[in-house]
Structure formats: C-alpha cells, structure tokens
Amino acid sequence: MTATHPLILAGSAAETTRLVAYWILAIISIAAAIAMVLARRAVHCAVLLAVVMLSLAGLYIMLGAPFLAFVQVIVYTGAVLMLFLFVLMIVGITAADSIIETIRGQRMWAALSGIALLVLLSLVIGHAEIGGAAPNSAKFGNGNVTGLASLIFTKYLYPFEVISVLLIVAAIGAMVLAHRERTTPKPTQRELAARRIASGRPTPLPGPGTYAQHNAADMPALLPDGSQSELSVSPVLSGRSPQAPPELPGGAAPASPQETAGSLAGPPPSEGSIARPASAGGQGAGEQ
C-alpha cells in the first residue's frame, strides 16, 4: 500500500469502490456522448464532449495511467476544447444544425450502420480472449511518469522526434491557413471620414438603455418620442433572445408615444435638459 500512488485504488478492499467508480464514469460518459450527438447547438456539443473527456480521465486513473489522465485534462479539455470554443465563437454561435435531411434516409442508414458496427465490434471483442489485468506494479503507480519517460526517450525516441516536427508543421500550417491577405489597400482616415458622412449616419449608434429604466445591454434605448431604438441593441443579442421586443419599462402597456415620452421625461433629470432633444427629436426619429 505504501508503494502505490494515492490516486490509484489498490488492494482487494477497494474492489467495490472501483466497480462503483467504473459504473458511474461509464454511465456519465455514454450519456454525455449520446447527448453530444443529439444536441442541436454546437456549444452544447462542446460542453458535453468536455464531460466525456473528464470522465475518461477518471477512467485512466483507474487503469493506472495518472500521467495520461492529467494530459487528458490539460491537453484535451484545456487546450483542444478551448480551441473548439474559440472557433465556434468565430464561426457563429447561433449556427444551429439544420433539421432537414439533405440525403433521403440518411439518419436511418446512419443508425443502421452504427448498429452494424456495434454488432461487429462486439463479436470481435466477444471472440477475443481478454484476460485479467496484469499484477500491480510500480509502473502503474508511483513509477508511471518515470516509466513513460524511459520508454519515450529510448525505445520511442524516433517517433517522439517525428511528432515534434509534426507539431511545428501543424502550427505553421494553421497560421498559413488562417492568415488572410489584404487584397485592398488600407483605408486612410480621410476615406473613412468620407465614407461615414456618405453613409447617412455620421454619429455613433445609440447606446443601449439610454432613457430606459436600466442599462442592460439588451435594453433598447428610448428615443425622445418614447419609441424604442432598434439600432441601440446589438443584432447578435436581439437575434439570440426569442422574444423580440423587450417590454417597456414600468410594466405599462405601450401607450401612445407622446404619453410615454411625457411620463418618462418627467422624473429623472431636469425638464430643460430633456426638452432640447425632444424638440429636435422629430428629425432624429425620422432618420431612424
């Protein structure tokens, strides 16, 4: 017992614990994997894949591979999945999978071939003679890292070097592939200013929550006539929330614009500061 790593459950007394841990991890990983295939949003898929990988790390610890378990957590869950999430944020978080089948009967055939693959693999595994685990040794406990190191740097030295070359090539390849060459000259400040004037809106877009009751990012600003400005909310936010127009502050039903403007302009600041934008609001609202 003294020779084993504290993370490794050893001895016959721990057999029940091992069994319980195995079943918990197995059920969690299979459920998360099935949910990953079925989840419609790609971000949910990524999170469920993280669950599968973390439970696999637990199984590696049970199998006497503590080094691989930590590599699984650090490299897979920490780096690879974060890369997935980064690309998901670039490619579009709202991109849900389409439900329509482009190939007729694709799901049915996919399920059938999945079952066929399962049967095939089960037959192969069933016919194979899978013996019990080898007797416990230091290689699967405290000596795991040193054992792996001595293998990597002696027997597998050449593959190890090749893999380091592969990593460099992959990094350079990713940079080349994701690099975007500028095809048009960079616009100067004068050109940007001219474009802005020509666009019909020389001012910045209105910020969210102006003159509304709170300044959450999804709360549209109120125009001087009391109507809501659609421009003040980011299209990403309004596209994400299913209920399109947020309710007017105060819980009152949207009254006529004049009434709302009067009731809202009354309390907060002084009357005079509001009056000026309200009088000029005709053009501002019309332009939007």
């Binding site: 195995y22 994997a33 997935f84 991109a95 055939w109 999945g114 899978i130 027997k155 592969l166 994701a178």
Partner: protein
C-alpha cells in the same frame, strides 16, 4: 471486479457513438468533435491493453495519439475558419463545389 473487458466494452460503445455522430451531423465542427470522441475511445482501448499486459507501451501510443489529435484539430479548425470566411457556412453539405 472491474476487468479490462469492461473498459474495452465502454471503448467500443463510445467509438460507435462517435461514428454515428460523424455520419449524422452536418456542422463540420460537430463532426470534428465526434472524430475526437472516436480518438478518445481508441485511446481508452490502448490504455486498457497497457494495463492488461503490464507494459507501458500502450500508454506511450495513447500519448502519441493525443499529440497527433491536437495537431489535427489545429489544422482542421484553421481550414474550417477559412472555408467559413469564403462561404459563410460551416455545414459540410455546402462545400460541394467539386461534386459536378
């Protein structure tokens, strides 16, 4: 008692789920995730065989598989972003220019 056969069975099930996901899903990123699931299932089998034989070679191979998978993901996701930039879509059905 947990025998290596338990772990091999789990590995088979995870591999099949990943394969079905590759066949069913349209979003290229999710297809990539399912490929990762299959690689993980194979890794689980490698580690199990290492435990079964009492040798660490299987763990070394699983380690190499992880490194290669990381490289594959980096290049694959770079290709995906450049495809998305060109045609504003991450669906595998849209990239069919060479079909006809």
């Amino acid at each position: 008692m947990v025998s290596p056969a338990h772990f091999i069975a789990l590995s088979v099930i995870l591999f099949v789920i990943g394969a079905v996901g590759v066949l069913v899903r349209r979003n290229a990123i999710v297809v990539f995730m399912c490929v990762e699931l299959m690689l993980n299932a194979a890794n689980l089998a490698f580690v199990t065989f290492a435990r079964m034989h009492g040798q660490l070679d299987g763990q070394v191979i699983a380690f190499f598989v992880m490194v290669v998978a990381a490289a594959e993901v980096v290049v694959g996701l770079a290709i995906l972003t450049s495809i998305f930039r060109a045609r504003r879509s991450a669906s595998v059905d849209d990239a069919s220019l060479m079909k006809y």
